[in-house]
Amino acid sequence: MNRLGRWRGALTVGVAVAAALVLGAILLAATGANPLEAAGAIVTGAFGPDGIQDTLAYAVPVAGMATALAIPLRAGLVNLGGEGQLVLGAISAVAVGLHVPGPLGLVAALVAGMLAGGLYAAAAALCETRLGVPLLVTTLLLSYPAMSLAAYLVRFPMRDQGSSLPQSAQLPPDVRLPALAGNGLTVGLFLIVAAVAVYAVVDARTPAGFEARVTGWGPRFAQYAGIDRPRTTLRLLACSGGLAGLVGAIVVLGFPYRFIDGALITPQYTWIGLLAALLAAASPLGTLVAALFFAALTSGGFAMERETQVPRELTAVLQAVLIIFLAATTGLLRRRRSAA
């Protein structure tokens, strides 16, 4: 019965993806492009020998943010402040990395990123549990001062003296994550893979993960079962922000080894990550798969634009169509059925 259900679930997802692709093809054809050619360009662009590196480089922060946001989402808590935590993690990592030399500096920078993001998200959690301001509001609102602070820091105290751009100085060579490719892909990849693996194990196999899921199933049931909601909220948000901060640190500890204002916001890591987590109902593996898929689609989109002159925005349309189809079929938008 359960196996059947899972099989049927896979089937509906398959059908949704296929339907979205057909619709995408029609859209492409409508703009005068050859849909097959464009699709081929996306696939080679995303997974071809050159493309795969770009896909991975983009997938690392997206998957990292997706997992970070999935952690509280498992308990039904939405962290909308991913951007602030990401940026704060990144700027803290750079600040520490510029002052602590050597390999110790590298570790200290990663830890600083994690701490900054984690503490900041924990503050948002406390605003809910202590002051009663909804988490949606506190996380989102706290995001803006964090981004502004970073913007200020790289314009004034931390500014790279040799440049007119709002960016920090470059990190010294021994405070950099070893590169796997020239495009910013670093061993940070393994850190994210490890984070996803830890999340998967904690979610499925530990009491803490179980309690998060129970909270997600029903807050009143969780309270009745003795699960302390404020404490759960605080812990989950701290982990979420910590991972977001780590992602920020990993990004700035890779090429070009500095904090550039806006560089973490423009690529939409956070929002694409949130989408992936929402679509996968925060399940650890599902979130990873969805994040990789979106990353591939985005980097494939760049390739398509180069090869076929089809505007890259069409992949964004495709992405949107896909999200709507998936959401509709997986019941994300469906109202919860009342108990019988």
Binding site: R213, Q223, D228
Partner: protein, 566 residues
């Protein structure tokens, strides 16, 4: 001869392996109240959902007034004049009655909601059917019984001619049930056809013209109610003889296990507290039953003991003082709790049965080993509870919500009894449970008591309290107003106390000090209209109920308190 209003022929419905409806034939005449009975999981809700277009039958036909129809959605069934109140409520608590009634079928004028027409139409219906509510009342402020009437209003507003009510009385007090039946009789006389699902034999006798019994998806009996005896119905349902009104032998109480002193819970509105200075104790090997008209503080009392509501006063389990502790600590100190609201509080409907049954056991062996949860052990744990308590489910991986209402209750009961906690708080243990299973649950509770545990039982069924409890306390307006030992508990005296007219003699004579004091006070206060009260104890109680907005405060109150209860 006129055509039957509803005719179901050869209805078959499968859920995977499980045959929920097995060639069911059902004929309902126009203007008739037709009761549908059967054990939990017999397929009653399934059959009604098919008639209402929520489920499609695998085989069989539906005819209305002799015309064959096919419903592929509830919308089609509604258009054909069928309306259904499903098990449990589907209302928006924060909205007024009108909005709830017109939701989904709003009258419009020039494309905009025509609020005046809506209110007028709803008022007209309220008046015509003599309902006791105002269209502008907020649903959340209404007592449960009145909310039920809002559900019926919804159907009438949509011009339903066939009304399906799936266990509408499960959450009602006897007086509210009587009111509902009056409404149903009027509707039937008006030409409406009513299909009523219920587990209660006396309700079937009281209100229905015809009764049909399902067992394992098949019709085992159908016929005019007047020609059918209670015993006959019970055996058609269960396939065996059932001892209907059993009173269990008294227990042998030992040391005090649960002591509550001066417990006070603030009411929702300022002024009268929901629980007012309640003191009581339950000894090991004893069941203490709390009787009372719903909404007199029973739910809040239990929630406060369990740590779900903030309260003043002291609660001790064994030697351990619990005040100030959170739910988890209290449970660890020896409390288990079967809550009234099984769909939202007692279980997670969307989660697997395994997970529902593991909750609460997930921080200790055998489910936990070396810091990790063992899925094998979780499964075994679930299978053991399913087996021991006779939960009928497709399997341990089935989502909780696919279980029938009564089987969900058995699963929750099984989980909480398995804790072997010294003190068990149990609310409405047999609500929505079939009569065969009622006996099973009662036997379990008695066995639990006889194993030396203390049980605090809250039930709206007076017969249940009388049958099980070694001592009966009566709550009225948040206070314990009377206490009866098993030997002196007679329904009349208890009914009187429930209505606020606790006679001085009974309470003063036998009660322990604390209860006696409170009872004396109330008896004095209520003295003026005592004669009136004696005349019609339950009727009076219902009026108190209807005028009282505190009908169901636990839901919201528990949410408000959040985790702050700790």
């Amino acid at each position: 001869m006129t055509q039957p209003a509803v005719q179901l022929t050869g209805i078959v419905k499968r859920f995977g392996e499980l045959l929920a409806n097995d060639h069911v034939d059902l004929t309902v005449a126009r203007g008739e109240i037709h009761a549908l009975m059967g054990e939990n999981g017999a397929g009653k809700s399934t059959l009604m959902s098919i008639l209402y277009g929520l489920l499609r039958p695998d085989a069989g036909t539906i005819a209305l007034d002799g015309e064959p129809v096919v419903f592929d959605s509830a919308a089609r069934a509604i258009a054909a004049g069928i309306g259904m109140v499903q098990q449990g409520f589907a209302l928006f608590d924060s909205m007024p009655v009108v909005d709830n009634v017109i939701y989904g079928a709003e009258p419009t004028r020039r494309g905009l909601l025509d609020r005046r027409a809506a209110t007028a139409a709803v008022s007209e219906l309220v008046e015509r059917h003599g309902l006791r509510l105002a269209p502008t009342d907020r649903v959340g402020d209404l007592p449960i019984g009145v909310r039920q009437q809002v559900e019926i209003l919804k159907l009438l507003y949509r011009r339903a001619r066939v009304l399906i009510l799936d266990e509408p009385t499960a959450v009602l007090t006897p007086a509210e049930t009587e009111q509902l039946f009056t409404v149903l009789r009027d509707l039937a006389a008006d030409g409406h056809t009513v299909l009523l699902v219920t587990h209660k034999l006396h309700e079937v006798t009281a209100v229905s013209d015809t009764v049909t019994v399902l067992r394992d998806g098949k019709v085992t009996m159908t016929g005019p109610t007047s020609a059918t005896g209670r015993a006959e119905l019970a055996s058609a349902m269960t396939g065996r003889e059932v001892d209907l009104d059993r009173v269990y032998p008294a227990g042998q109480p030992g040391a005090e296990a649960l002591t509550v002193t001066g417990l006070t819970v603030d009411g929702r509105a300022a002024g009268r507290p929901a629980v007012d200075d309640v003191s009581l104790s339950v000894r090991a090997g004893e069941i203490v039953g709390i009787a009372g008209v719903a909404g007199n503080g029973q739910t809040e009392l239990v929630a406060a003991i369990a740590g779900l509501l903030p309260a003043r006063g002291s609660v001790t389990v064994g030697e351990r003082e619990l005040s100030g502790l959170g739910v988890a600590r209290r449970r660890a100190a020896g409390l288990a709790h079967i809550p009234e609201d099984r769909a939202e509080v007692g279980a997670a409907p969307g989660a697997r049965l395994t997970d529902n049954l593991a909750t609460g056991f997930h921080r200790r062996p055998p489910l936990l080993r070396k810091g990790f949860l063992r899925s094998g052990a979780m499964r075994t744990h679930a299978e053991r509870i399913i087996e021991r308590f006779g939960v009928r489910a497709p399997g341990p991986s089935a989502p909780m919500r696919t279980l029938s209402g009564g089987n969900q209750q058995k699963a929750i009961l099984g989980r909480e009894l398995t804790h072997e906690a010294p003190v068990l708080l149990v609310e409405q243990p047999t609500r929505g449970v079939d009569i065969g299973a009622v006996v099973g649950i009662h036997t379990e509770l008695i066995a639990y008591r006889d194993a030396g545990h203390a049980v605090l039982l809250v039930s709206a069924e007076l017969s249940e309290v009388l049958g099980l409890a070694d001592r009966v306390l009566v709550m009225y307006e948040g206070r314990v107003v009377a206490e009866f030992p098993k030997t002196e508990a007679d329904p009349h005296a208890i009914g009187l106390a429930m209505a606020g007219g606790a006679p001085r003699g009974v309470a003063g004579g036998t009660a322990e000090d604390s209860a006696g004091g409170a009872a004396g006070g109330v008896a004095g206060a209520a003295g003026g209209d005592e004669a009136d009260v004696v005349g019609d104890a339950t009727g009076h109680a219902s009026e108190n109920m209807a005028g009282d907005t505190a009908g169901d405060t636990t839901g919201d109150a528990a949410e408000d308190s959040g985790g702050g209860a700790a």
